[in-house]
Symmetry: C2
Subunit: 103 residues, 2 copies
DNA sequence: TCTATAGTTCTATTATATTCGAACAATAGT
DNA sequence: ACTATTGTTCGAATATAATAGAACTATAGA
């Protein structure tokens, strides 16, 4: 069961995170993962876009260090790397999540 | 003395701010303004780039609601809209600034 | 082995951003 | 009025990103 490679938290740059969160679709994915508080498959995050588009956004979220994807069978289980990101960039992701969900 | 138009803080979107801060040059400008703690002219923010490039980045920072530019004579005095941005998106900009300057 | 499912990768298209020289605009000083 | 200074705007080249259909991969189950 080959797994996807992720960057270590040390390798993650702040501007990567900013860039990843600057796209409304990706911010929405991050919000849904945060609100779910558990692993979600790509299919459970339905934003009415083709699979290839969603896959593209997940790839960017992964390379930014925001999302971890574990392969379980045919499904890809996604979760937010909240604690890790918070420990490297304290307050950044949590403040963005609060700001994005406060309405 | 005609002044530049800025968005009100209500008009500013979170993704605009994320987008503006995702560019290393613009993040650097924001950091310099924060560290200066006072108004700086474009010329004082020397990142070794042509005027037209810097002007472009300032325009994006302004439209994102991050920077206010007041024209005084031939100079354009720039300042961070830190308090306003903090009040609309608490913790976001301050956390980014801390994360970006902590090394 | 055949089929269905879940996502990725490939490829091309289109859209958006960055960069920067050159021309321009506004002001200040002489 | 002329000149220098400061920064913007224009325009064009280049680079990067978003979108999505089609082909592909990997696993699970019958």
């Amino acid at each position: 069961m080959r797994q996807i490679k992720h960057p270590t938290i040390e390798q993650v740059e702040l501007t990567d995170i900013m860039y990843a969160l600057a796209d409304p679709t990706r911010l929405e994915i991050v919000i849904l993962l945060a609100q779910a508080g558990k692993k979600l498959t790509c299919g459970e995050i339905n934003l009415n876009r083709p699979k290839s588009s969603m896959s593209h956004h997940f790839k960017i979220l992964r390379s930014a260090g925001l999302v971890e994807t574990l392969i379980e069978g045919t499904e890809h289980m996604n979760s937010l790397r909240l604690e890790e990101v918070e420990s490297k960039f304290p307050g950044v992701l949590s403040a963005v999540l609060k700001a994005a969900t406060k309405d």
